[in-house]
């Protein structure tokens, strides 16, 4: 069974606890990341791939601890490099279900370039950005998604930078699936993650995951619940790229959840094209042991 052949909805051989490890999270009580983990367990149970066929890759950050809290093959790598590693895994073994998760800093500060390139390669990964608008693990510095003017330990007099807009970026990069969720709406978040996994290509899901320790009031769960507007309820058409772009521009002002964009005719993935190429060329190949014949001069 391959990741691009999703398990039909309804048949659920596994329950959430099959995906949860017994490592105790280091997260602060009330951290939004608990909600993301729960939604992830649920979505994985809904998809139903056995844990040993799943690889979950992260970088470094509070959020990036998440692979250790699952029972999948996990890789808690280095800051900003989860996507290259995940691409290596998926290309090496396309039969695996490969997920990526990590923070806003990990993904859009140090790792920003890898997002663009993973997307244009269209490797079938599901990338969950746990966006708390702050650097949690390093104790509260400015993150790329922090609102302009924010005062933090690294911006005592307020920041000068416009925030990164993860949604708009990923649309411009050509992602076939772009969504945003929030733990304030657990069912919605679970459904988005499941939809992302089932999307046959690169899927990006931004999750507004509040940091209770260093985050601003307006990003906390309580405020989130008040601000949250469901795209579906607004009659948003996920096939409309330009409309998605327009709505994405409101990141930071509005808190829309749901699918901004889902490409109606998903493009071929890198790994499927690679598979075809291999099939085509393998037939013409000699054995590995006779590779030196290429250098014959006679």
């Amino acid at each position: 069974m391959t990741a691009s052949t999703p398990v039909p909805a309804g048949s659920q051989p596994f329950t959430t606890k099959d995906y949860r490890s017994n490592l105790k999270p280091i997260w602060c009580a009330g951290c939004g990341d608990f909600g993301v983990a729960t939604a992830l367990y649920r979505a994985l149970a809904a998809v139903g791939r056995p844990p040993h066929e799943i690889a979950l890759v992260s970088g470094i950050g509070c959020s990036s601890r998440i692979p250790g809290y699952t029972n999948c093959y996990g890789f808690n790598s280095i800051h900003g490099r989860a996507l290259p590693i995940a691409q290596g895994i998926k290309l090496a073994n396309p039969d695996l279900l490969v997920l990526v998760a990590g923070g806003d800093g990990d993904g859009f500060s140090i790792g920003g370039n890898h997002v663009a390139h993973a997307i244009r390669r269209n490797v079938d990964l599901t990338y969950i950005c746990m966006d708390n608008q702050i650097y949690g693990l390093t104790k509260g510095q400015l993150s790329p998604t922090s609102p302009r003017g924010l005062k933090t330990v690294s911006s005592s007099y307020g920041s000068f930078e416009e925030p990164v807009n993860p949604l708009l970026y990923c649309l411009a990069y050509g992602a076939g699936f772009v969504a945003q969720g929030a733990p304030a709406d657990m069912d919605g978040l679970t459904a988005l993650i499941e939809a992302g996994i089932r999307y046959p290509g690169f899927a990006f899901i931004n999750v507004q995951s509040p940091c209770v320790t260093y985050g601003e009031e307006k990003f906390q769960l309580k405020a989130q619940k008040l601000r949250l507007e469901k795209l579906e309820a607004l009659g948003h058409d996920p096939a409309d790229f330009m409309k998605a772009t327009e709505r994405a521009r409101a990141y930071g002002e509005k808190l829309y959840t749901g699918i901004y964009y889902r490409c109606p005719s998903p493009a071929a993935t890198f790994e499927s094209m690679a598979r075809e190429r291999r099939q085509e060329l393998q037939s013409r190949a000699a054995s590995r042991s006779s590779i030196l014949d290429l250098f014959q001069t006679a």
């Binding site: 890789f75 590693i85 290596g88 790994e271 290429l294 014959q296």
Partner: protein, 596 residues
């Protein structure tokens, strides 16, 4: 009668000088000669001056040789631009374009003055026979073949194949140009400048390739199924070779957005269970430190080839140097021991690269292969390699008992923990760059950290016994020892052999395993020495210093170390050894110190 012939040629862009060299070495390979071809270009991206040097021999050779025996100048300005890369000596025969209008006695080479200067109407013959100046290089081939007895028929047939697609007229024109050169040579014998190469011992055709393609081929042989990398001179051809071949063997190649991502994908592919590799050059290596450190602590096998060029920074992208050794050994924070290997000839690239995969897989560690521009881009004829004798090692997988329960980083007697891969039931685990306990759970405990550091380093101990990764040549009780690595090892060994023939007891050591420093092997080598010389293309004497770090030097150990660009010649090294032996009054080189 001479045993080998060193030819150097230079011309303007479009003169096809390098192409002539390629034709010559291809013919030589078919004839069964041993040969090495190096090329050099000006700074223009295209169409600037270009040159090549070719050494041909009836016997096996290990270097591109020193002073030219034959020099070909299509124009003087361009020839002179190559300076020390095309060294003309008092025994050199210089052949040059008559149209330069320079009389043989006036040629701009006089320190020293060459044995013979021979103008030839190269351009005129090309124009007259092929109707185009483009055929100048073919005329040169005819001249060289005629004057020095080089494989005429093989050159001719090779050129025919080369021009096959260009139509009968072009082919015929080239044929005529070649014949014109041959005829001219026959009509103008060189007299005292005459040299003729003996026929090769066996006329068996040889393989012909360069170090980069050889490296790619070795990766395929070793079972590499993933390449992730980013183009950079002079390593790009490794990626380019694999881009053509890896798919045929079930693999996949990713041209990544940068060197970090390229290596990151390799780490991912290795985690997924595949043999995986990247290739780069200095600037790329300097970017990879962090990711290499991750592979070390996560204990993931991979091979990273670094084709050295002149540094620091962008440096001299097209010139060879051996100055990435410290970076290869030490460029990651923390206590990391990462094996570093280096081949000494193009042929050697094959077994060394295969061994890099073996060490990586056996010990679950990243391994660096330090090639250099000289090896990577020079063409060399190669005797058949008996690949059946080469081992291919696979990583240790968990047996059923290891999975109950699976402890990824179990501290075993040899330090190697069986490794599972995603898709393997029961092998689920967390890999991480953060310090972890045996289960893979993050830990900031000092005792756990000490144990894990110890395990990760202890597991490499068997490398200390790998004499097979060293070439040792010469009388084992010789009091003079010389050490050299990479593309410097070839001229070094030839120098030692030449001196042995002169009666000087010299032994040579060429390490293929550079790091960890195999102390025992060096100690054995030093045992009989009265004096030692370490030769390398690095201003800072990086190998000399690296050896000192771990080995107590029981005798005076000198260093012949200089910046790159121009390779060492056997003559130059022999001269230094002679002076060490007291046979030459010239000053013995003293050990360099970085700050004095």
């Amino acid at each position: 009668m001479i045993s080998d012939l060193v030819i150097g040629m230079a011309g303007a862009g479009g003169d096809g000088i390098v192409s002539a060299g390629e034709s010559l070495i291809a013919a030589a390979a078919r004839e069964g000669y041993y040969a090495i071809l190096t090329k050099s270009f000006g700074s223009q991206i295209r169409g600037g001056e270009s040159s090549c040097r070719l050494r041909l021999s009836a016997e096996p050779i290990l270097s591109a040789g020193g002073t030219l025996q034959v020099a070909v100048a299509l124009n003087w300005e361009d020839f002179l631009k190559f300076g020390g890369e095309l060294p003309v000596g008092s025994e050199t025969v210089v052949i040059y374009e008559e149209a330069t209008g320079v009389a043989p006695g006036q040629i701009p080479l006089d320190r020293p003055r060459p044995a013979l200067a021979v103008p030839a109407p190269i351009a005129r013959m090309a124009q007259e026979t092929a109707g185009t100046l483009k055929a100048k290089n073919t005329v040169v081939l005819g001249l060289l073949s005629g004057w020095f007895g080089l494989a005429g028929e093989s050159i001719r047939s090779g050129m025919r194949r080369k021009f096959a697609g260009k139509g009968a007229e072009v082919q015929a024109g080239n044929d005529r140009a070649f014949q014109a050169g041959l005829d001219y040579a026959a009509q103008h014998p060189l007299g005292s400048g005459s040299r003729r190469l003996p026929p090769p011992a066996h006329r068996k055709p040889k393989l012909l390739t360069d170090g980069n393609d050889m490296c790619g081929a070795a990766a395929i042989f070793a079972g590499c199924e993933f390449f992730g990398g980013y183009p950079i001179t002079p390593s790009s051809e490794i990626m380019q070779f694999l881009n053509r071949e890896i798919w045929k063997h079930g693999g996949v190649l990713l041209q990544a957005e940068d060197e970090i991502a390229g290596l990151g994908a390799v780490v991912g592919a290795s985690f997924a269970g595949k043999k995986a590799m990247t290739a780069t050059s200095g600037p790329g290596l300097s970017l990879k430190g962090e990711m290499l450190g991750l592979a070390t602590i996560a204990e993931l096998p991979l091979v990273c080839v670094d084709v050295q060029r002149g540094g620091p920074s962008t440096g001299l992208p097209t010139k060879s140097e051996q100055s990435d050794l410290w970076a290869a050994a030490f460029s990651a924070h923390g206590d990391v021991v990462r094996p570093v290997l280096a081949p000494i000839t193009v042929a050697d690239v094959f077994p060394v690269t295969v061994e890099a995969f073996n060490i990586a897989e056996q010990f679950q560690t990243p391994v660096i292969v330090l090639s250099d521009q000289e090896l990577a881009q020079r063409k060399e004829t190669i005797d058949p390699i008996d690949t059946a004798r080469l081992q291919r090692i696979e990583r240790r997988r968990p047996a059923a008992a290891d999975l109950d329960p699976y402890v990824r980083y179990r501290i075993t007697p040899d330090g190697i923990s069986p490794i599972s891969y995603p898709g393997m039931p029961g092998g689920n685990h967390l890999a991480s760059g953060i310090e972890h306990n045996e289960n893979g759970a993050p830990s900031a405990n000092g005792a756990v950290h000490a144990r894990m550091n110890e395990k990760r380093i202890r597991k490499l101990a068997p490398l200390g016994d790998r004499d097979d990764l060293f070439t040792r040549e010469g009388p084992p009780d010789a009091p003079i020892g010389v050490i050299g690595w990479g593309s410097t090892a070839g001229p070094l060994i030839e120098a030692a052999r030449n001196l042995q023939r002169e009666g000087l007891a010299v032994q040579a050591l060429a390490p293929r395993l550079l790091y960890p420093v195999a102390e025992k092997v060096y100690r054995r080598f030093f045992a009989s020495l009265r004096v030692c010389l370490v030769v390398e293309q690095s201003h800072l004497a990086q190998l000399y210093r690296l050896i000192r770090m771990f080995v107590d030097l029981p005798c005076p150990c000198h260093s012949l170390a200089r910046s790159g660009a121009n390779p060492f010649s056997p003559e130059e090294i022999a001269g230094q050894i002679r002076s060490l032996a007291g046979l030459d009054p010239a000053a013995v080189p003293s050990t360099p110190a970085p700050t004095r």
